[in-house]
Symmetry: C2
Subunit: 701 residues, 2 copies
């Protein structure tokens, strides 16, 4: 595999620009210019068949002519020449290649792109692109793009699927004082993809946070697993566009990304600790927070010189799930000395517009020194008397003097004009997150807390499910032999039983006498259901009878079901009638599984009936998940309070429900032959859960 | 009333600054400085007992000493001197006063503040404040604040309850090129309040949009009625802080605002066409849109040079309720000429990074000329080749040349660095809304559409309800005589019947024989319910029996209810047992009313059972509302699809439901004696709605 050479994309000792040009306006010119002007210190070899020299550098006809080794080739020749050029790179022993050239799969030219992948694999080249605007790595002063020249160095790595957006964002980050370690345009992802880059940046000491603009992923599951590992070390923030149906279509026509369900993306991000931002502004606001230490607790304090912003920030804290310290006595003792009598020492701590820089800074220091306070939100409304720049400088000096162990997360918001903007810029340049709006400061601290809650949760290693696979495959094989994709209800139930789920007793009766006998064995009341691969919606044709109390009712029900089934589906292959133990009333839930085109097996959970069908109140996860995840999934739906017992009902067995979900997620993951499962309903009782009805569909072969 | 003189706050011909000071650092100094430096052209009279001259202006010992008339007095003397100074203003015939001084109701000094209100009323002074940072009106070059000197003139009026925030925001608006017509700090609202200012700005030709920062209102209902009128003419955007419980508490301690339910505020804003923004950034983003013409339809087109931003904007359109034009053939014909073959003429129209300024501008012009396109979203990712500033200048020139009738709403988003920022600034300075992020551009156009949909909906004038008031008051009076606040079920039902609601037959039986007789009259099956002012939760004690099919069951039920009631409440005053017609099953809904501390009578609607109790799925409105509003209210709840018929059920009579809600809203509004009504459930059937149970509570006297 070519992934081992990724480092040469970012820290090459020598670069060949293949297709370098001396003509202004050409991409091959812009790239040479940026490499030179941004201050790359390694060796630079322009390659051009016609030129002898470009921008003072000796030009070569072929990469093979270069005397020295070449770590990175930046390729800007027309699409049709790229394969031969890449082949030469392979022969030359080039470690990494950034293929700027477009005209590949994005315009339907998949064959040529596959050829690039092949060559890269054969020669062990780490290949970025094609169809990209280049790569930037500020620690090695490398700007191999045809985008803007200037980038502010910093600790945020940015991966973008849209070259135009990436290029445009660089200029914006400079304006906003957002420091970047890297910008990588991934283009068509013929070789290197988001997962490879996440892995690389997780080991890169110059990178603290990672922002990804994504329209789709090629290998969803690998991405999920990589992100899960990486986000334990670094904050990953993703803007996944195509949330809306129409947006997804636009994305498909833009980068050819597979549609896939946006809700599955959200689930996958949640599972892997990725923070999903809905705008670029939010993404970079959050990314700034990667430079602060993680908190030690959840007691946040707001300091402000203005009541109004204090209220706005407090509202935002509730929205973002930030907990404010409530120990009013402690707050009064701690902060009263720094404010006039009409100030408020409740949280938000309103020191009023009269607070001096000295007082504000001392209150801030006091809060930093307090063991009771985990994090701080510092707000300021610009006034003529208060020098925010002076205040900021004192803060920076203080932070610099502080040992790592004494640091805690702090976000700043200065509302105002030039003076506030200057203070914000100074703080940001010193890697202290500061924002012009209170909500943006709070949202960023909220992002840190979300991430922190993820990294501190120790997940159980998901073990393989102990199931009777032999039994399951025998059922599957029988259906295969009969040419069926749809399993019968009793078969589906057999499989669930083999996984250890609690399936009430059921027996397939082929005659009325068998039904009578089975009912006696099971015990009244019973439920009768028609069994036929040709009849999917059993209830609709009167194929189900519940609450049968005795033999007489049973016989009548049997005959009626048979009559109706044959009337509705004269040609149906009727296997018999399933006699089922009647299940007591609980909360009806639905657990389902399906195959997502990008992530593979996923599971779905919701409450039965209108909750799923009408209110669309469902939660998704990429399978498999452990019980803890399943509990979180249950709490994701809005109607979950119904499981906790409402209107005098007792609490249902949520623990058992979570176990059932986890088991089903393993089943769908491990038995790839089954592509769709639908337990509807799974009855959740005060103790345990019972499978009332189940369907399964096999993979088409 | 003093409201007529508000204009002198904004356009005075002469100003007296009472408490003017020659000493730097004093508020009386800062205000004089700002008035002079911002270029006020009228007459200026500093008033100070000690000084003879301040900043080159002759100083007076008292406002009474000024030879000329005084339109506006800006008062900055200590709180205790304000009443006497204001009295002098009254005697002098001063038209308006801005009381900067603090130390009134915000610190508990309500008495002194009431005195100011009295004096203002007596002398017809329009009084702003106290406890404010001042007032700004750019068309008359008036900056009577101790905030920043510079303000960018423009068309947005800003009203703020927080002085500190208002002062800080001025600087920020300058940075962001947001043009303001006025900034008014309302402080304690002793006289002039938000409603007065809304009314004033609705008639002010220099103001096109109004932004309000609010923590609470004093007269909610008047505010609602004023906003309703004003927002038909101008966009009103409100940031109401204290959304969260904790935020509301912080607001209460900040400005002494009453808590009130935040959900009622949201409802009131919705009813009055006010757009509620949750951040200052969003509020001013939206306010920029007040300078564009209203659209003529809902066919929006996105033009872009980058696929990525196109997708992000498309996602945002769905979120903001913006409809994109879908006529692909027309789009292809219209826009294909301006883009390379690999561009996309679907909407978003992706003209690719290769588009030239000329091509982009021509495509834009074409879209402006099209009758099929109602509004435009113009996106740009910064590239080296595309000159956004040149493009923007062409756009401005084009707009200037266009007659009003040919204009349509257009928003711009330029993603990039300095070049993009310059282009954004140029457009904004020319009153063309431009933003650095695609979502912000889309959100602003979305705000325009929300407002437009409001103004084009012709509301029916809400007429008074035709009800048998005599009957209603006789019931109320009887309860009053008995010293009850709680009406009996039959009384509540009598009142609803008197309003024309469909109440199934009911009769109060005092003996078992009466019950038998009434049941026969009504017809079986019937429902029996205990009637006692002492038993509120009838069902809980077994005081309700449903589905009684015959006389025998009735007698048993009667005895059982009586037995249980007496057992649970031996002291209860039992009035008898209500025999009710049994209502067929439909969708159970709840309609309620209550008194909001700020807005008075409000109504609530939701589906019965868990939907209201567990899922909190309810909608509110300030009463009264007409049927159209009620229909909108029904669609506000998430579970509304249940009324449209799910799982094979037929659609319920939503029209009738809306009428019922409207009638109830009138009842609660017109009969102020009834402070709480609870119809639970109101059964919504395929035809009509029936009141199954009802409770009412009277106002305490």
């Amino acid at each position: 595999m070519s992934r081992q050479n990724i480092k040469y994309l970012f820290s090459p000792e020598s670069i060949a620009v293949i297709g370098a040009s001396p003509k202004k306006g050409k991409i091959g010119y812009a790239i040479m210019r940026n490499i030179i002007d941004y201050g790359y210190k390694g060796k630079l070899y322009p390659v051009n068949i016609k030129e002898k020299e470009i921008m003072g550098f000796k030009a070569y006809k072929s990469v093979l002519d270069i005397e020295d080794k070449v770590d990175l080739a930046v390729i800007v020749v027309p699409a049709k020449s790229v394969p031969s050029v890449l082949l030469e790179c392979g022969k030359k022993g080039v470690k990494a290649a950034a293929v700027i050239s477009s005209g590949f799969s994005e315009v339907g030219n998949k064959k040529e792109e596959d050829l690039l992948t092949e060559i890269a694999e054969k020669y062990g080249i780490s290949l970025l692109g094609p169809n990209i605007f280049g790569v930037i790595y500020t620690p090695s002063r490398l700007n191999a793009t045809f985008g803007p020249k200037d980038i502010m160095p910093g600790h945020i790595a940015c991966i973008t699927q849209s070259g135009a957006l990436g290029g445009a964002l660089i200029g914006w980050t400079v304006l906003e004082n957002i420091g970047l370690s890297a910008v990588v345009s991934v283009g068509n992802k013929a070789d290197i993809d988001d997962s490879d880059l996440l892995e690389y940046f997780s080991r890169d000491d110059n990178t603290k946070g990672i922002v990804v603009y994504m329209e789709g992923v090629k290998e969803g599951r690998r991405f999920l697993q990589t992100a899960e590992k990486v986000s334990k070390k670094k904050i990953i923030i993703i803007i996944k566009s195509g949330r809306s149906e129409r947006g997804a279509k636009a994305a498909a026509s833009h980068t050819g990304s597979l549609a896939g369900s946006d809700r599955i993306f959200s689930a996958a991000f949640k599972q892997s600790g990725v923070l999903r931002a809905d705008t670029m502004e939010k993404a970079f606001d959050w990314a700034r927070i990667s430079s602060v230490p993680v908190p030690k607790g959840e007691n946040v304090v707001i300091l402000t010189n203005g009541g109004g912003v204090g209220v706005l920030a407090t509202d935002a804290c509730e929205k973002e799930g930030i907990k404010l310290l409530d120990d009013y006595r402690y707050l009064e003792e701690t902060f009263r000395p720094y404010m006039p009598s009409f100030g408020s020492a409740k949280n938000p701590i309103d020191m009023t517009g009269q607070v001096t820089v000295e007082e504000y800074f001392n209150a801030f220091k006091k809060a930093m020194e307090s063991d009771k306070i985990s994090a701080l939100i510092i707000l300021n409304c610009e006034t003529a008397a208060f020098d925010t720049v002076e205040f900021s400088k004192k803060v920076i000096e203080y932070f610099d003097s502080l040992p790592e162990s004494k640091k805690k997360p702090v976000v700043f918001n200065f509302v105002g004009g030039v003076k506030s903007k200057n203070a914000i810029d100074i703080l940001n340049k010193n890697n202290i997150p500061a924002y012009p709006q209170p909500e943006r400061a709070v949202s960023s601290l909220g992002a840190l807390y979300k991430w922190w809650r993820y990294i501190k949760t120790e997940k159980k290693k998901i073990e393989t499910l102990e199931i009777d696979k032999e039994k399951i495959y025998s059922i599957i094989n029988r259906a295969r032999e009969e040419g069926r994709l749809q399993l019968l209800e009793n078969e589906a139930k057999d499989i669930l039983k083999a996984c250890g789920l609690d399936v009430p007793e059921y027996k397939l009766a082929k005659t009325i006498d068998e039904a009578v006998e089975y009912a006696k064995e099971i015990g009244y009341p019973v439920v009768l259901k028609i069994v036929s691969e040709d009849i999917i919606h059993k209830s609709d044709i009167g194929g189900v009878k519940i609450g049968i109390k005795n033999e007489e009712e049973l016989k009548n029900a049997y005959r009626e079901i048979m009559y109706r089934a044959k009337k509705s589906y004269p040609e149906a292959n009727i296997r018999g009638i399933l006699v089922n133990e009647m299940v007591e009333k609980g909360v009806e839930t639905i657990i389902g599984s399906s195959e997502d085109p990008q992530f593979g097996p996923v599971i779905m959970f919701g409450l039965g009936g209108i909750y799923v069908e009408v209110l669309k109140d469902v939660a998704f996860r990429v399978a498999p998940i452990d019980k803890e995840d399943a509990l979180e999934m249950i709490n994701d739906i809005k109607s979950y309070p119904l499981l906790y017992g409402v209107r005098g009902e007792k609490r249902k067995d949520i623990n058992s429900l979570a176990e059932n979900i986890s088991v089903l997620s393993h089943l769908t993951y491990e038995i790839s032959e089954i592509v769709e499962i639908d337990i509807n309903p799974l009855m959740v009782l005060e103790e345990g859960c019972k499978v009332v009805d189940a369907r399964m569909t096999l993979k088409e072969v």
